[in-house]
């Protein structure tokens, strides 16, 4: 399978790393040859129809910060749209940074690939949260596969899990901790009794929270995931503006102390149900499935047949997120072969 990666940040590099680690085993087990024919970052691209060397690609990125410095096959200044015109490929991995204003350039990349009859795997929440129905219709019209397991909960299985493992069950609602950064901050505040600002600083120093933490702490990231789950699992037709969003920046040590006194913890919870789409700080019982610490993500799916099923996993991380992308690629391969 000829694969093209747009975006070579943490997730893109994780995918290249996983390809290096797993290429042989996947060839043996599934007969799938993972051939990375192009990778693109802000600097331009590295293109080789015979397949790039993923180790060399990673070391080039590490040393120079640009994939376009890749020996002999680097092309500086190429855009994603230009690259998709130029390269022969079977599957696009779209992992450019999430943009929740207008979903670009990811939305255009994905639509272009689909219109050309290519399968698409993405972890990019922007286009999924803003243009879900457009994208899934385009995929159906062009008879291509569109997979996005990595967009919600990183390594935590949820979308394919609901579609495949729980197939036959009606999913009535989903409640979950869908953002690792806020879970880390709230867990630390509960443990240390520290203030919100102090704990946010600590998380930033550790690289858990970004320099501009707004998307995480104001609940925007979790709200995107609520939209994705609502559309893809509960078959709703909603977009980002349909979610009621409240973040954690107003949470105080005093409120956490009061919650603890009654046996509760405060967590940022995403709620997906036909009568409510919401991200807000909520009280969860200590010892309940939601009482997970650190950067973990968790989701409880309420179903008609299996009652409640809970999944937990690492919500972020380069290789962890890439694991979900790899599973999407293998699943596409299995369906087509």
């Amino acid at each position: 399978m000829r694969i093209c990666i747009l975006g070579f940040g943490s997730v893109g590099q994780g995918v290249a790393h996983v390809f290096s680690m797993k290429r042989e085993i996947i060839m043996q087990e599934y007969g799938l040859d993972l051939k990375l024919v192009a990778a693109l970052d802000r600097s331009g691209a590295a293109i080789d129809p015979e397949g790039l060397n993923t180790d060399l690609l990673l070391s080039t990125k590490k040393d120079t910060g640009r994939v376009s410095e890749y020996p002999e096959h680097g092309v500086a200044g190429l855009s994603g749209m230009e690259l998709l015109d130029e390269v022969e490929y079977d599957c696009l991995i779209e992992v450019t940074p999430t943009n929740i204003e207008d979903a670009e350039p990811a939305r255009s990349h994905i639509l272009k690939a689909m219109s050309a009859g290519k399968n698409v795997v993405t972890s990019n929440k922007g286009p999924l949260a803003l243009s879900f129905s457009e994208l899934s219709h385009t995929a159906t019209e062009n008879n291509v596969q569109f997979k996005y397991e990595a967009s919600v909960g990183g390594a935590m299985p949820i979308i394919n899990f609901a579609h495949e493992t729980l197939s036959g069950c009606k999913i009535e609602s989903i409640y979950g901790i869908l953002n690792g950064t806020t879970n880390y901050i709230l867990s630390r505040m509960a443990k240390e009794g520290s203030s919100y600002d102090q704990t946010l600083n600590e998380a930033q120093e550790m690289g858990i929270a970004e320099t501009d933490p707004t998307q995480d702490v104001e609940g925007e990231d979790a709200a995107c995931k609520v939209v994705i789950l609502a559309n893809s699992i509960l078959n709703m037709d909603v977009t980002y503006d349909d979610v009621e969003v409240r973040g954690i920046s107003q949470i105080t040590p005093e409120s956490i102390t009061l919650a603890k006194k009654e046996g509760y913890l405060i967590k940022l919870i995403g709620e997906v149900s036909p009568d409510s789409l919401e991200v807000s700080p909520r009280l969860v019982k200590k010892g309940s499935p939601f009482a997970v610490e650190g950067t973990l993500n968790v989701a409880t799916l309420k179903t008609d047949l299996a009652d409640e099923v809970t999944v937990v996993g690492k919500g972020a991380g380069s290789v962890e997120t890439a694991s979900a992308i790899l599973s999407d690629i293998i699943s596409i391969w299995k369906t087509n072969n």
């Binding site: 105080t252 005093e254 102390t257 009061l258 006194k261 405060i266 009280l283």
Partner: protein
């Protein structure tokens, strides 16, 4: 002594048996069971009236075992049992007239404030209060939505249960 209970059971096979089993096992007598499968509550559950007999301690134990087993007891001797709702509100609680907040909450039908705990901060606008509210069985969801509405009107951050 005798106790009249109204239980609420899910409409799935085995539920009635699960409710009756512990009663006999704990040594209480079942005097009467009224179970009409075709009468349902608006939530789709089936109310079952049961009269049991035994000493006080046994009967209390029966209630506990039933509740621990996830069986909803909605009435005991004609008295409607309550559900507890815990909410935390963050904001300038005192400035926003605490008494008025409690009054507004009490005005929600079937709801009463049962407990209140305040924790003041050096920054008054960051003070927190924990309010425990008792709602009639089945009114929890509606009550929680109203609580949020009242809190939001006063500019508080409302942290409800999941």
């Amino acid at each position: 002594m005798r106790l009249n209970l109204v239980l609420e059971l899910l409409d799935v096979p085995g539920q009635l048996l699960d409710a009756l089993n512990p009663i006999g096992r704990l040594g209480a007598n079942i005097v009467a069971v009224i179970h009409q499968r075709d009468v349902k509550t608006e939530r789709g559950t089936i109310p079952v009236q049961i009269t049991i007999e035994g000493d006080k301690e046994t009967l209390n134990q029966v209630l506990k075992v039933l509740e621990d087993g996830g069986i909803q007891i909605i009435q005991v001797d004609g008295i409607v049992r309550k559900e507890k709702i815990t909410t935390i509100m963050v904001g300038n609680i005192v400035d926003q007239d605490l008494k008025d907040t409690v009054n507004l909450l009490n005005q929600i039908e079937g709801v009463m404030v049962a407990d209140l705990d305040l924790k003041m901060s050096d920054h008054p606008e960051k003070s927190a209060s924990r309010i425990v509210i008792e709602a009639e069985q089945g009114r929890k969801k509606e009550a929680m939505a109203k609580i949020k509405e009242i809190g939001n009107q006063k500019g508080f951050l409302v942290i409800n249960e999941v």
